[in-house]
Amino acid sequence: MKMDKGCLTMRKLAFIVVCISLLLTGCWDYQEVDRLAPVMAIGIDSIPGSKIILLTVQIASPEGKGGSKRTGQQGGGGEAYTVMNSEGKSLSEAIHNLSTQSTRRISLSHCKIIVLGENFAEAGIGQILDELKRDRNFRRTDWLLTTDKTAKEILEKDIELEQVPARGLDLILQNFTTLGRVLPMNLSDFSARLNEESKVSFSPLVQLEDIDKQVTSQLEKAAGRSLESAGRPKTLTISKTAVYKNLRMVGVLNEDDTRLHRWLIDSPKGSSIKFTYTPQSPTEEVQGEVMLNIIDGKTSITPQISENGITMNIAVTVKASLSETGVTGVDVLDPKVVAQLELQAAEAVKLQLEHTINTAQKEIKVDYVDFAESLHNYYPVEWKQIKDNWDDTFPTVEYRISCDVEIRNTGIITDSTQQNESEE
């Protein structure tokens, strides 16, 4: 009797297992990996005066991954990626239109890079932000890049050492999060900034530069003959920042401003200070370029509202290590010299920061330095009155910068043994 009962239970269990395996396979949503076209990056362009979106997608092809891309072109397994284009009235329509040419299902969940072409960014990016946030496949960790060319050109370019360029761009931006001069911007932060009081956001600017040609032509000029150079293709570089206001690109920060902009709104950590050292006593004739690497640092912006108007107090503290003194014979064993270096570095930082804020106030006239946010945070009541006229008030806002640089170490040597060339 007991046996029978056990047998029955086993049969019941077997029946349930069979039912489960038949019913709960999730076969509606199955996706075979080899039937997918994983999009690694999307680029969005438009023509001035037209609402049509021109979409470029970079699709990784798993089959081509084995060989290197150069030999791949001669038939060693195909390229590691392929580029497709489509157009549509909206981003989702353009994505749907990709299926007319793709043999595989377009999968956007691996997309890490979103490149916005110049024309599109200047015309306004409002129509794609909704789709990027609504579609379950896009992630808010996706990097947003702007270019001064078209997104198509960017996505068609190879990146050295990486098989899929999108992966290369991703790695560059990942490195920027800890070290680097440009503040990388993901979709979440970009959108959150656009929602903030100043309605200003920014994204790194990716450019195509012919560095190889620049170097070769300089060398050729110096040598007076043509160099035997292989002539490498143009390179993708990220060193500037595009500024957006009310969903439109309104300006571009140059390399120095980009670096200092990151100091202001994020932290100086990972950046560097470069300045010309001039000794205190005029008898010493040492003079040269000094470079400090910033180990740690902090920037704080504290607004102050008084009868005289709005003043922003910007305090920067920097802990740095000496990275290069040039061949100048700077005596870093002397505490006085180190104190001088620290003072002059602080002065240099102050000047550069002033330049960056001046660019914001006088040239671009857009508050990308977070003044509005800190005012809103510190003076929420007063802000309600300032808010409506902020765009006119911002260029007139006064600011005070205090900077404190501290040299923590001098690398693995102290003084440099080489003297200046002139002292030979």
Binding site: D29, S191, A192, E196
Partner: protein, 364 residues
Amino acid sequence: MAEKGIINTKQFVWMLFIIITPFAAMQIPGMLIMQAGRDAWLSVLSAWFLDVMLAIVYAYMGLRFPGENFVQYSITILGKYLGRVVGILFPLFFLLVCTLVLRSLSQVVDTVFLPLTPFNVILVTAFLVSALIGRKGIEVIARMTEILGPLYLLSIVTLSFLVLPSFHIARLKPQFDQGVAPFLVGTPLMLTSFGVCIIMAMYIPLCNRPENGFLGKLSAVSMGALVVCLVTALSVGIFGMEDAQYMTSPGLELAKMINFSNYIERVEMVWLLILVGSGILASSSMLWAFGQGLAQIVGLKSYQSLIYPGALISLVLSLISFPSGLQHTNFFHYTFPIMAAFVETGLELFLLMAALILHKRGTT
């Protein structure tokens, strides 16, 4: 008594915690941010305080009427007929909550994870599992929650730590930007979600130590408040209040944001596990409470025969009541809080007053 199971205090705590978890994992933080903005996390704290106050009433009633749940003591207090009319509101409320929880759970799974799978398939599967667990009785639910509850709490706290690098505290400032009104509106909204823990009144008679009811509820709702508070504060600090308020599941978006030194990423499946597990367990508790309550109203010997019909009614309700997810969200946002406040706070306080005025006491 129809239910023979006995639960201990630890199980009692985790059962209550797991009922709050699906609310934290789904729409509630988004709705709360829509009402209370940057002060949402403060609303959670004040709702926590009010809910603890409410728990005193429930715990007191549990002790005043030993061995009786609120369905039973409403009959004791108000008499055979009126008591039954009032008492039946509690099981019906639990059925409604079960409907809402499973509906929103299936909705999130359908839109985010399995878009090609028909919605009904997910919904029916969820109902089947809940009904199966509910029918097995309170001890099964209690033991499951005892294992899963700590696991979920640990996962949510770990996920919160992992997402911290993207957190900007400036986005939480300034507090009380629009005055205290948003905060005051947010508090009752949150309270109604915590308030589902009135199911404690169904558990207390089955506890081996009913006098620990208040302490148990206090620790459960504190953990629950911690979870909701973490989710709301982090989503405002990461996405900004403007974006976070329109998210169908801010917690899920938080899990998607995790990229811990390029090593731990795409962990939203953990969130899915929490969501589905806690959602199904919570609704099986609701179904159990519905069956138990109804059986006592109509005087059945066993509640088990009521679980499957109850689940079926609830399934049909969740299918026909809301033509789309939008109506469901609207109901959750505008109608449910009023009903919940009426049942959770109004009815119980009414019963307390009646018991005090009529000098009714349970028999020991």
